[in-house]
């Protein structure tokens, strides 16, 4: 099998099973020749998995065409591999990120029905929150596994992970973490209704284009506001994440306490991710420079307590 047609999967994500849907390949140590390890629909037992682990194998390979089926498998078994403490934390984090971005990109691209997007986001929100609540996740571990491109789904996944990390350190409860994670995954949903050419434009937006782009919180809110499985706070994350404390934000121009705390939290990590990710019109800015820029706007754009907490989280990681 040519290596171009194969993609790696984490051994840690596999559960003993009567049959998996894909042929599994192995890359033996000191070899660049992939060999068929287990044909599809052939049982894989826990002792098979243990033997692989004992021999130092952490990855198997599947055919690229079977990526979608593997993604579905990961979604169906997320609770099992996320809670498997035998698997190193960064590996579980990386897999979680792949699952969330993979699924979001699929449903955003297909413009799936809003009920399905909300349902899927709620499931990921709950799983992410439980995972973050149970594990000592550090910013430096997290940031290493995130994808920093400008696509709406990669950004939404990052904002979700960052929001939960910040909310956890601000002392929010487990239920709140799950709701915040879901709200964060949906916060930019309105961008799906914006002309895609604006989202990837590689120079400054004109005034008219900026006005168009600034419609996305309202568009997202309008799309989601009749969903009775979303709370007011989650909807306000979507609607208010571009408001500023000094009233200079959009769409309403609210000030201070008129902005929901979850929207303030979303705003901090949203801007941080935007600054530290590659954009069509500029390359990513280093974390400390991004924080410097944001601190100039403490109390005018951002809630200073939240910004300080976020800075501390990042600085602690840097010190490590």
């Amino acid at each position: 099998m040519s290596d171009k047609k194969l993609i790696p999967i984490s051994l840690a994500t596999l559960e003993p099973s009567d049959a998996l849907a894909w042929d599994l390949y192995l890359l033996p140590r000191d070899s660049n020749q992939y060999i068929l390890y287990r044909a599809s629909n052939y049982p894989i037992t826990s002792s098979d998995l243990e033997k692989l682990v004992a021999s130092g194998i952490t990855r198997l390979y599947i055919s690229r065409e079977q990526r979608a089926s593997y993604q579905q498998y990961l979604r169906d078994n997320a609770d099992a591999w996320l809670n498997n403490s035998a698997v190193p934390l960064p590996e579980r984090m990386e897999t979680l990120n792949q699952v969330v971005t993979g699924s979001l990109s699929e449903s955003f691209r297909k413009k799936e029905a809003v009920e399905r997007v909300v349902g899927q986001s709620s499931t990921f929100g709950r799983q992410t929150a439980a995972f973050f609540a149970a594990e000592p996740i550090l910013f430096e571990d997290l940031v290493r596994v995130l994808q920093h491109d400008y696509t709406t789904f990669a950004h939404s996944a990052n904002v979700c992970f960052y929001s939960v990390l910040l909310a956890k350190h601000l002392g929010f409860s487990g239920d709140d973490l799950a709701q915040i994670a879901t709200g964060a995954l949906l916060h930019d949903l309105g961008k799906l209704e914006i002309d895609p050419r604006l989202l990837v434009k590689d120079n400054r937006l004109t005034e008219a284009e900026t006005r168009e782009m600034q419609k996305h919180p309202t568009l997202g809110f309008r799309r989601l506001c009749r969903q009775d499985d979303l709370t007011a706070a989650q909807l306000l994350m979507v609607y208010q994440h571009h408001e500023r404390l000094d009233g200079g934000g959009y769409p309403v121009g609210l000030t201070n306490d008129e902005i929901h705390p979850w929207a303030k939290l979303c705003s901090v990590v949203d801007v941080f991710d935007a600054l530290t990710s590659d954009r069509p019109y500029r390359t990513a800015i280093a974390d400390d420079i991004a924080l410097g820029i944001m601190h100039r706007d403490a109390n005018t754009a951002f809630d200073s307590e939240m910004l300080t907490c976020w800075t501390r989280l990042i600085s602690t990681s840097d010190a490590n």
Partner: protein, 141 residues
């Protein structure tokens, strides 16, 4: 039923229901100018907005699941209107997609919020889209 409220009852409601909008001074002046700069037309042209200040009463209905609203009437100020839109000053923020009825002395219209902008504390400018097209004289009567 509200649909059966007649002209006298509407006028009484508008007089009786307090308006909690606090219009800032610099807005007060702009509210004084009435009419349409483009012409003295007595009918709407495409895209034309007619500036007018009218005390009105708003009744919210069909609120969003996550944002329930109390029943009842609240005072508001109509600022301008077009064939199918209306600008209204209201004392609190309303959300896009919220449904409301605006009672003017002349007529009662049903509308949906499409945008809301904060002007000042207790003063929000609502952009409404009306359920059907209106003629200028229906709204001004």
């Amino acid at each position: 039923m509200l649909d059966t409220i007649d002209l006298d009852q509407r006028r009484q409601l508008i007089e009786r229901i307090p308006c909690r909008v606090r219009v800032p001074d610099d807005w007060q002046r702009s509210l004084e100018a009435e009419g349409c700069a483009a012409s003295q037309a007595n009918e709407f042209r495409a895209g034309m907005r007619y500036r007018v200040v009218r005390r009105a009463v708003v009744q919210l209905y069909g609120s969003l699941p996550a944002f329930p609203r109390p029943e009842g009437y609240t005072g508001a100020i109509v600022q301008d209107f077009s064939r199918h839109g209306m600008g209204v000053l209201y004392h609190e923020q309303l959300f896009p997609e919220e449904r409301l009825r605006v009672l003017l002395p002349s007529i009662s219209v049903e509308a949906t919020v499409i945008r809301c902008r904060r002007v000042a504390q207790s003063c929000y400018q609502l952009g409404l889209v009306l359920d059907r097209d209106y003629r200028l004289r229906e709204l001004l009567a």
